[in-house]
């Protein structure tokens, strides 16, 4: 099958590309960023999904399946630009898909869709609305992109749409929200809070995405793997030191003295857990993780040389 990956130069997207290629699919990619050492046989078009050149790729190469991995979070891009990429890009991608005969679109979204707050339940199911956008407005455009992709399920009945809400990933690329948070030797925590974090090893995450491409499952699915782990144990088992800081102080320190520059709402995500129920996806695709939570942390520790 001919698969087009939007955002192919991202760390996880590269692994998805190589996995799909190794399984005999023809893989094309779109990205504003180059993929310099892209393996032979994976054709990368250096363009923005919202640009004319991107539509040409749809028109001339006629992909059967499109995997949308070209969204960004608040750590990567700010303000209007992020909203344009996430919402505008998703809209363009679906328009091109419908106009040029694509049969299946996989939107790779994030489990942070559900938001973190004190009164949100553990194990979110796919039918739940997002919580806590009010306290973390930087999340709004990702939520909007998720919902826009999801309503293609009724807006475009001829197109098979898959919306994945993927948990955090850890792995060789050392990229992603959780990985950036674990970058330093010392990891700040909010004193008196220790949320659960859910993560997949990158190879498992790539396999989950490849499975949804191959099985063409329709619908909205949380994608999770092993049991969630409290942040403090994640920090300790990856060889780092947790530094609990009282919340008012931590708020003041964000972006200073080597503390990560995070929007204030991001603190909710290190106070309260976002844990999703991934049963429906496992039932639909037969997905099972290969790397459990303990091994994932051990491997990450070795990868990052701690």
């Amino acid at each position: 099958m001919r698969v087009l990956i939007a955002g192919i130069s991202g760390a996880l997207a590269r692994q998805v590309a190589m996995l799909l290629k190794s399984r005999g699919h023809e893989v094309l990619g779109l990205d504003r960023r180059p993929w310099r050492d892209a393996p032979e046989g994976i054709e990368v078009f250096e363009t923005d999904v919202r640009k004319r050149a991107a539509e040409d790729v749809f028109r001339t190469r006629k992909p059967e399946c499109v995997v949308h991995m070209a969204t960004v979070n608040a750590l990567t891009a700010g303000g209007d630009e992020r909203a344009r990429i996430n919402v505008g890009g998703t809209k363009s991608l679906f328009e091109h898909a419908v106009n040029h005969g694509v049969k299946h679109v996989v939107f790779v979204g994030r489990h942070t869709y559900y938001g973190a707050s004190a009164d949100s339940p553990l194990y979110h199911t796919e039918d739940e609305p997002p919580h806590g956008i009010g306290s973390f407005p930087e999340l709004a455009d990702l939520v909007a992109a998720d919902l826009y992709a999801a309503n293609a399920l009724w807006r475009e009945p001829k197109l098979v749409t898959t919306v994945l809400r993927l948990v955090y990933t850890l792995g060789p690329s050392q990229q992603g929200t959780l990985a950036s948070f674990l970058r330093g030797k010392r990891v700040p925590m909010v004193l008196g809070y220790d949320p659960l974090f859910q993560f997949l090893f990158e190879s498992d995450a790539a396999r989950a995405i490849a499975l949804s491409v191959e099985q063409r499952v329709k619908g909205i699915y949380n994608v999770s793997g092993p049991n969630p782990v409290p942040l403090r144990l994640i920090v300790e088992h990856t060889g780092r030191t947790a530094v609990p800081v009282p919340e008012p102080l931590l708020r003041g320190l964000l972006g200073r003295l080597g503390f990560p520059r995070l929007p204030p709402g991001a603190l909710e995500h290190i106070k309260f857990p976002i844990v999703v129920d991934g049963k429906a996806f496992k039932r639909a695709t037969g997905f099972a993780h290969e790397v459990d939570e303990v091994e994932c942390l051990q491997r990450y520790r070795l990868l990052t040389g701690r």
Partner: protein, 272 residues
């Protein structure tokens, strides 16, 4: 507080799916349970000298719902019921309370309630825990129950009906319990809602001696035989309310039994 080795053994005997890190799928941590129950166990044995009757009525495994009364002040009753399920049952069980929302908002409260399985009282939590065959602890009087004044200590305020619909929907047996003594530990003369607002809790109980630190009053808890109700949870309010009334009456009886037993224990022949 030193960790109690016997508590460590009890925690190791809990039939919960802990992983190699000693954490279950809900984030309940053996390490935190040992510390928490060492503390609660000390209060249970030495401070409140809790006397538990009928703990064998709690099923050894499988889903069940402990439903009881709040006896005053704040949830000393809940904490002691947790301790009695850990200390008196064989094998021990972890009861999981449905906590007030503010607890998870507070630093430390959030961490310890999360690590010991005392989650915010959301319908989603309650249903999922029961589907997972856990032991749920419910006080249908809610915060209005702990806000009872000393003089109201043996009364029951209105019961919510959510627990009954959930029990029917998930086919869960209800183990009624009556708890007395909490009001003697925290004899509330009034509740300060203004002070509560300042510190982020619903209210602060005020006692004749000012602060609401608990006195070492002996406590008594009586568990009744499980009650099962047939239905889907979708019944009319009038039916549900009649079932709830049955549970409430059973709890009132258990409170009476517990009062008598406690009276005999505290001051033989005296009135309480």
């Amino acid at each position: 507080m030193a960790r109690d080795d016997s508590v460590r053994d009890l925690v190791n005997r809990l039939e919960l799916p802990f992983n190699a890190l000693g954490v279950d799928p809900y984030g309940i941590s053996k390490k935190h349970l040992v510390v928490g129950f060492s503390l609660l166990g000390w209060f249970y044995r030495n401070y409140f000298r809790v006397h538990a009757v009928g703990a064998e009525n709690v099923p050894q495994r499988g889903r069940a719902m402990l439903v009881g009364n709040h006896s005053g002040g704040y949830a000393i009753d809940g904490a002691m019921v947790l301790a009695s399920m850990m200390l008196e049952l064989d094998p021990p069980r972890l009861a999981q309370g449905m906590a007030e929302k503010f607890i998870n908002q507070l630093p430390v409260g959030s961490l310890w309630s999360s690590r010991t399985g005392q989650f915010t009282g959301l319908p989603e939590h309650a249903e999922r825990l029961l589907q997972d065959d856990r032991l749920l602890m419910v006080f249908p009087e809610g915060a209005r129950g702990t806000a009872k004044l000393y003089k109201e200590r043996y009364s029951l305020v209105d019961f919510g009906t959510g627990f009954m619909r959930l029990a029917l929907k998930t086919k869960t047996p209800i183990v009624p319990l009556g708890f007395v003594g909490g009001a003697d530990a925290v004899p509330t003369v009034m509740n300060s809602y203004t002070l509560g607002k300042l510190v982020g809790v619903p209210y602060v109980p005020v006692t004749p001696y000012g602060v609401a630190l608990p006195l070492p009053a002996p406590c008594e808890v009586h568990y009744g035989v499980p009650m099962t109700f047939e239905g889907t949870g979708d019944e009319e309010d009038s039916i549900i309310k009649a079932y709830v009334e049955q549970v409430k009456q059973r709890i009132a009886q258990l409170i009476d039994e517990a009062r008598k037993a406690r009276r005999a224990r505290v001051k033989p022949g005296g009135a309480s």
